[in-house]
Amino acid sequence: MIPIGIWVNALLTLCILSFLYKDNPFFRFAESLFAGLSLGYYIGLTMQNTLRPNLLNPVIHEFGVNFNYLLIIPAALGILLYFRYIPRISWMARIALAVYVGYYSGVTLVQKLHGEILPQARDTVLPVTHGGANALWNIIMIIGVFSVLIYFYFSAEHKGALGRVSRVGIWFLMISFGASFGYTVMARVSLLMGRFSFLVNTWIRPMISG
């Protein structure tokens, strides 16, 4: 006998796949169930992995002794988010957003400059005089990077010399998009394979031979 879990799993899979034919009540049921359950799942996960260990445990168990009073700040910011529902002081919710966006803007700034621009720029400084084929590939790499950078240049229209360099930039972009698209077909197909092998090997085959 096939366990109930497998039946639910298989039927929901078919409900989602039915959307390919056209929208229908089965898909809509699966979509709604999926929306509700997954939101509930993340609320549970957040409670188990973040709120309880990092905030509630310290508050309940260590209160008074060596309680980390600074934990009040994140808790206060979190509660501030709910001030939006109190008309007169609803603007206070902006404080929590401002702190959150402000901090990650700072983190993003240094991470982009230090973690992305420096290494990527450094690896564009390539030897082009020796190393046979490698030198040629490096020349193509340098042309590609510069032409794409110029294509995205905002301060000038794509005309004249700049226009021609931008055309080369577009060719590199097209090669890249085509290549990346072709590269990811495999990932998508393997997902489909995962679902079909579940349906065939875990649901239908045991049902037939069962």
Partner: protein
């Protein structure tokens, strides 16, 4: 007052990680690590805010019997059941079992199946988009076909082993060059936007435009 407080906060809190990045001194790094953990807690607080909105929207849909209201019942039922088991799971071991069971047999397959729809969409998008209407579209098409042939053993059999190296070359040289150009450009754009936010020039996310 309503707008200056958030903007001043954004400036101070925004400049802090930059300061902590260049100043390894203990004073700077301790608070920086602390800020990391705090903001994880703030994000965790925000999730129920979303759930509140889901309740309000769906309850009003059910009460007014608007089109598709039965599905709202399914959404709320799923949210309440899984949410309560999940929160209980933080404290009771047995509800963790139910929590995992529901995830394993309902949420996870729905995720994988929804994801697997992409293999159909990739096929229909490829059929429609890869038409050699002009030179650019032609380059896109040829590059895609070469890489697809290089990704499967079949490609090498046809081209007696030259398809995989060619596809790896396309991915390693021109693709990397173009992506590097986009990455550097996007990183500059992101950095410029971060500075605009920290200096308070970019304010739309606060919903505080001109007032």
């Amino acid at each position: 007052m309503k707008r200056t407080v958030p903007l001043v906060l954004t400036f101070i809190i925004g400049m802090y990680p930059i300061f902590a990045f260049f100043v390894p001194h203990r004073i700077a790094s301790d608070l920086n690590d602390r800020l990391d953990t705090w903001l994880i807690i703030v994000a965790a607080f925000a999730l129920p805010l979303g759930a509140v909105n889901v309740f309000m929207i769906n309850l009003s849909k059910i009460s007014q019997r608007r089109k598709g209201w039965p599905y709202s019942i399914v959404i709320l039922a799923g949210l309440v059941v899984m949410g309560s088991i999940g929160i209980a799971g933080a404290y009771r071991q047995d509800s963790i079992g139910q929590f995992q069971y529901l995830f394993q047999n309902i949420v996870s397959p729905l995720q994988s199946t929804m994801f697997s729809l992409l293999s159909f969409y990739v096929a229909s998008a490829a059929y429609r988009a890869f038409r050699a209407r002009n030179l650019d579209a032609g380059i896109l098409l040829v590059s895609a076909i070469v890489v697809m042939m290089g990704r499967i053993p079949f490609g090498d059999m046809l081209s007696h082993g030259s398809m995989t190296p060619l596809s790896e070359w396309l991915m390693t040289i021109p693709n990397t060059a173009a992506q590097r150009g986009i990455i550097i450009g996007a990183a500059l754009g992101a950095a410029s936007m971060s500075i605009r936010i920290i200096l308070g020039i970019e304010r739309t996310y606060l919903g505080s435009g001109k007032d």
